[in-house]
Structure formats: structure tokens, C-alpha cells
Amino acid sequence: MSAALLSDLSIFVLSLLVGFEVISKVPATLHTPLMSGANSIHGVVLVGAILAASTAHNPLGYILAFIAVAFATANVVGGYVVTDRMLQMFRRRPAPAPSNDSEAGPAK
């Protein structure tokens, strides 16, 4: 096993552990935005798609790279925009009219 593979594996395993640690603290209220936020993060595969396009030199390579770039960009852009759209709807109080809010404390 090469040194490069070992360091990649270490990064992978440690990132998994960080992911478990960070994400287990997200309240259930935010699980949908969490999933769509995570969705946008895996759109980082766009980096791989651009690198693939940079080394493609034949029609098949170009076509595959084009689809990969388009898919990944849709993933990134759509993911962040829709997550933002959702999160801006989460309000502590109703937007316009004040009401007798007997549950003043934070949800969690």
C-alpha cells in the first residue's frame, strides 16, 4: 500500500468521524435543510469534473466530461439555493403580526 493511499484513507476515515460528530448534533427540525446542504457539498465533485474536462482529448471524453460538469453544477447551485430558501423560512417568531408567544424559549 502506497504512502499516498494511506494518507487518503486516513483523510477519509477521519472525515467520516468528524461528519458523525458534527451531524449528530443537528436537531431534527433541520434535517431536511441538512440533507439538502449535504447535497450541495457533494456537488464538490464539480472539481473532479473540471479536472476531467481538462485532460479529455477525444469526443467520448468531452461528452462524458460535459455531462459530469453539468450534473455537478446543477447539484452545487441548486443545492445551495434551495437550502438557503428553506433556512430563511425558519423564524423564531411569526414574520409580521406579533402574537402572544407563550413558548419563548429556543427549540433546542
Binding site: M1, L5, D8, F12, V13, S15, L16, V18, G19, V22, I23, K25, P27, A28, T29, T32, P33, L34, M35, S36, G37, A38, N39, S40, I41, H42, G43, V47, G48, A49, I50, L51, A52, A53, S54, T55, A56, N58, Y62, L64, A65, I67, V69, F71, T73, A74, N75, V77, G78, Y80, V81, V82, R85, M86, L87, F90, R92, A95, S99, N100
Partner: protein, 474 residues
Amino acid sequence: MSDFDTVVRLAYLVSAVCFVLGLHLMNSPARARHGNTVSAAGMTLAIVVTIAYVAHQGAITTTGWLIVVAGILVGGVAGLAGARKVHMTDMPQLVSLFNAAGGGAAALVAITEFVRVVTIHGAELSTRATVATVLDVIIGAVTFSGSLIAAGKLQGIITSAPVTFPAVRLMNAVLVLGALGSGSYLIWGDHRATLALVAFLVLGLIFGVTMVMPIGGADMPVVISLLNAFTGTAVAMAGFVIDNSVLIIAGALVGASGSILTKLMATAMNRSIRNIIVGGFGAADSTGVAVVGAGETVRAVEADDVALQLAYAQKVIFVPGYGLAVAQAQHELAALADLLEQRGVDVSYAIHPVAGRMPGHMNVLLAEANVPYPLLKEMDEINPEFARADVALVIGANDVVNPAARRTDSVIAGMPILDVDQAKSIVVMKRSMGHGYAGIDNELFTNPKTGMYFADAKAGLAALVSAVRSLVAS
């Protein structure tokens, strides 16, 4: 390593830190939006740096640049349009489509690399890259076709009922064997076997279809979470193929997130993940339906009775379920809550983990209807409060409020439920006496404290709003 390489790698590290911070900030609704911005900034950095790196390398052809620009434009417009237009009730479909896009792109990255090295240069991938390619292609292909089927089921293009055919298990076994065979050949036989890779890809795509088709609509929260975890893993594998740390880190983070949500959803539905994937619930469904309406009587109530109870209660707990999401009645429910709050009634919402069609979906629907998030209570938080509630109003939820889950001899034994039966009075709003997903009678409905209000969630809640209004006016 050149100076430029070093800068690129450091920038990727900064991006990865932004992703982790962004996810960390999601631990409170107040800071979550900020977290999303931090994550997006990290993403922008990673992409800009990659483009700069590609330009600096100078290996990219003019066609290559055109491909990148066109791909970004097409994908960007499609993603933006989808994200702007989607209704909140349709979020699960959109997330599924993004899973498909991410998984598909991850598989394509590995395939493109394979095409470049093997087909063009006639060289062969290292064993390490081949293993990563095999894993990336199979996970990516299953995610791609599986997510498209899931989205189709959620959208109603494909029937949401479990579709099974007699030989489905045999067929899956053949597919798995075929994939194992062609994958092994690539790894241990010939790293350049293009045909084996193509076969492998096709088998993966078919397997995605046969895996998701037999799964029913009610299991979708688990399926979407699982496919989300798959996508993350596929992206991490793509990172192994091209030796790119930011892909590995981001992929692992998403893999972890998807796994946690899958586990939570499966626990909340009292099912094992294996049980859902194998689709073993069909049998329980049919035996359950056979004992419909076994003699016990229920008490039916009308809108006016319910309105009276609600208007003069001190504490009301709403229990919205899948039925509310399907009827898109969240705005009517919020209007009813507003009306009651104006009368000084203490209103809160009990949210079961699987309410809605994906993890946390009900919270988003209610947030869209302008319900403040402090009123949305998780199961463990609200359960002790039911005993103090004058009225618990159940809208389109069934199995998650069935007290039978507390008995050991029930099909749903051990399933975590909302303790609705502890409330002083219970109103269940439902279209009919039909069964929930587990296909068993709900003992809550025959409880003497329970009134059954037979109505569609949207129309029924609208009727309640006007009934409460006329009570208040008179």
C-alpha cells in the same frame, strides 16, 4: 510539488474547513443560514482554484474550456430553476434528483479517467485507482438510477406502491454476482478491460432500479437518506480515483450525514435497513387489511364540536403527519393555530421523526406556513406534555400515534410513538378508517376519549378555521 500545487492544496483544505463549519452551524436554526453561506463560500473557493489550476497547467484544449463553460451554464441554469421553483412539498424529489446528479457525476469522473488512461494512452490504471474506480462506478450508478426511480415515485410518475415481481430476488442475486464478477476481473484480471467496465456500469444502473422499485412510498424517507449516503461515498471514491483530498473529505462528510439520517429514519419506523431494502413488509400489509373494522365502534365528531373544544382549551397540541403533507394543508393548520393563539390558547406542534416524506420534512412545511420554529417540538420533548394538553389534534398521522406500539405482541412493537393517548381529549382527522402503513387497527381511534373527524386535511382544517371564527364572533 510546485508552489502553485501547494496553494491549490491549501485552498482545498480551507474549503474542507468551510464545509465542516457550515455543517456545524446547522446545529441551531438561528445560525443555520449563516452556515449554508460559509459552506457555499468554501465551494466557490474550491471551484475557482480548480479553474485557476487547470488554466495554469495549460493542458486543457479550447474544446475542453468550451465544455466546462457550457456545462456550468447548462447545469447552473437547471439547478437554479429547480431550486427557485420547487414547492416545499416536492423537496424530496428535488433532493433525489440532486442525489442522482451527484452520483452520476461521480461515476462519470472515474469513467472519464478510465477512458483517458486506457483508451487514449493505452496505459493501465494502478490497482489502487482501479479499486476506487470499481467502487465509484457501482455506487454512483446505483445512486443515479435508484434516485431517479425514487424521484419518479415521489412525483407520482411511477407508482409509489411497492413493485415486486416473482423473480426479483433471483434477479438481484444475478446482478450482484455479475457485478462481483466484472468488478473482480477489472481488479485482479485486466485493469484495461473496457468491456468489463461497461458491463459493470450497466449492471449497477439496473440494480439501482430493481433496488428501489419494490420499496413503497412510505419508506421513502429511509431510501432518500440511504441514497444520499451513497452519493457521498461515490464522491469520496471519485476523490480516491483522481487523488483529490477535497472530494474525499466532502464525500465522507455527506456519507456520514446520510448514514446518520438513514439510521434515525429506520429506527423511527421500527424497521431495519435490510428489511426495507429487501422489501419484506408486503406480507404484513395484506394480513392487516383482512381484519378491517373488527366490530369496535368509533365516535364521529363534526367541525363545530371540534372547534368548540379547541376554542375553549388552554393547551392544544397538533400532531401533523404524512396525510397533512400529501394534502398540502400546512397553511390551513397555521391559520387555525394563529386563530387559537389569538384567543390565548397555548399551541404547539408534535413532530414525529418520520412525519412527511423525508427527514425533517414536516418542519420545513410548517416553517413555510410561517410557524415559528420554537413551537415545533421533537418527540422526546413533547411526549411529557401530552398529559397536560386539553386537546390533541391528529392530522393525517396513524401508525406514529398507535398505542399498540407499547405492547410486545404488536407488529409495530417498539416503534417510537407520540403519546397522544395521554391527552385529556383527542381528535383524529382522517379521510376514512383506512389503515396506516403497518396495516393494523389503531387503538387510539376506539379510545373513548377520541373523536374521529372524517375529512380531507385541507378542507377539514379550513372548516375548523371558519367554525372557530364564527364561535369567536358570536
